[in-house]
């Protein structure tokens, strides 16, 4: 007689009522955080980061969207065709807007309008995580700021918290707006927030993020900051690097190299 594979308790009738208190309690008190997971330790040894080599990026042909397209295709990001309800995981903005604090008035103006790739900064101290009332978003040990679409109630407080505008909201059912569905990755439903997840599902399979893979110019460099010999560490060495709004204390882990 087996009630449960994990063998909660092998009980017989008479003890049933009394003993059921404990597993009953476990069910009700199942709080999912912090729950030490066997992976946590190994995750803690990693700190994923990305560097965007703007020079390389700009050397690509005008209007190159390889990385964005790859990202959106793989993650079933819908294209609603309007600015109002736009959903984007990765996108570009002109340099002067991304780094408004950079004084461009008298410097060379040729990269003022150049596109800069934007995505979730996967902050070390992500504000969005603080605000979520249901812990639908949280930071993993390896630095990835995760979204649990199952749990999002759509209050959009995380969007108010994010200073980078990295989060999008599903203003309506996204499925009809997805050109070709990738069955490997779920779509979202209306009413939840979504954002770039550093291709966490690909990392798990030992692959690099889709955008990095798609970039023919090798302008995107991805790797583990905690490994001294990782590509991303090498890319950051001896270069002038920028982060978006480091003054806000969010410690972004997407770097821009110029």
């Amino acid at each position: 007689m087996q009630f449960d594979r994990r063998g909660f308790l092998k009980i017989t009738g008479l003890t049933l009522l009394g003993l059921s208190a404990k597993p009953g309690w476990e069910v009700f008190s199942k709080i999912d955080q912090p729950e030490p997971s066997p992976m946590a330790e190994s995750l803690a040894k990693i700190r994923w980061a990305m560097a965007v080599d703007l020079k390389k990026c700009w050397s690509a042909k005008e209007g190159c969207r390889d990385c964005i397209d790859a990202c959106h295709r793989i993650h079933n990001v819908p294209n609603l065709g309007t600015l109002k309800e736009e959903i984007k995981w990765t996108w570009t903005e002109p340099y002067e807007k991304v780094f408004p604090e950079h004084e461009l008035e008298y410097s060379e103006e040729n990269h003022r309008d150049k596109p800069v790739l934007l995505l979730c900064n996967q902050c070390d101290d992500p504000p969005c995580v603080k605000y979520c009332p249901t812990r639908a978003t949280w930071r993993r040990e390896d630095g990835i700021v995760m979204m649990d679409f199952h749990r999002c109630i759509g209050c959009r407080y995380c969007m108010a918290g994010c200073p980078y505008g990295s989060r999008s909201f599903n203003w309506r059912d996204p499925r009809p707006f997805i050109k070709k569905i990738n069955p490997e990755y779920p779509t979202r439903t209306r009413g939840v927030v979504e954002k770039c997840n550093f291709c966490v599902e690909r990392l798990a399979q030992g692959l690099i993020p889709a955008c990095v893979e798609a970039c023919k110019e090798k302008a995107l460099i991805f790797g583990d900051l905690k490994k001294p010999d990782s590509e991303v560490r090498k890319a950051l060495q001896n270069r002038v690097i920028y982060q978006r709004h480091p003054e806000l204390g969010t410690k972004p882990k997407v770097y821009y190299i110029l």
């Binding site: 594979r5 997971s37 946590a40 649990d148 309506r172 069955p183 439903t189």
Partner: protein, 138 residues
């Protein structure tokens, strides 16, 4: 016996209600219906992640645990009781063998009057064939 005209009809109604399931099932002709979820014929796909008896009872819990494990803990392999490791994925693992949701999942779910929301986001393989998604409309 007194008040026959009221009590007899009331008792008939009671009897009707008490035996209603029998009539219902006879009329629907499904008294002997037994759901038969379609199992994969492929030999390689014969073995499930857990024994059939366990899956029949606990698949919901297992899937919940899987969801939790992947999304919250980042653990994507499942150490099954048969000592094998499986990728935790509704699509790539479960639906890889049980390709047709309507012939597998829905069989028992309909039988038991259960509704679930898995497919609001997740995509079952057969769903992609000729444009069923567009049916949902904006």
């Amino acid at each position: 016996m007194y008040d026959k005209s009221k009590i007899i009809p009331a008792l008939v109604i009671f009897l009707g209600l008490a035996t209603y399931p029998i009539w219902h099932n006879t009329v629907s002709g499904k008294a002997r219906y037994v759901p038969k979820p379609e199992l994969p014929t492929d030999k390689a796909k014969k073995e499930c992640v857990e024994p059939k008896t366990f899956i029949r009872v606990n698949h919901k819990t297992l899937l919940e645990d899987w969801k939790f494990s992947v999304v919250r803990n980042g653990i994507r392999t499942y150490q099954a009781s048969n000592k094998k490791a499986y990728t935790i994925s509704l699509n790539r693992t479960c639906m890889n063998c049980h390709t047709d949701k309507t012939k597998f999942c829905d069989q028992c779910h309909t039988y038991m009057g259960v509704t679930n929301k898995c497919w609001d986001c997740h995509i079952y393989p057969k769903q992609l064939s000729p444009g069923p998604l567009a049916m949902r409309g904006p």
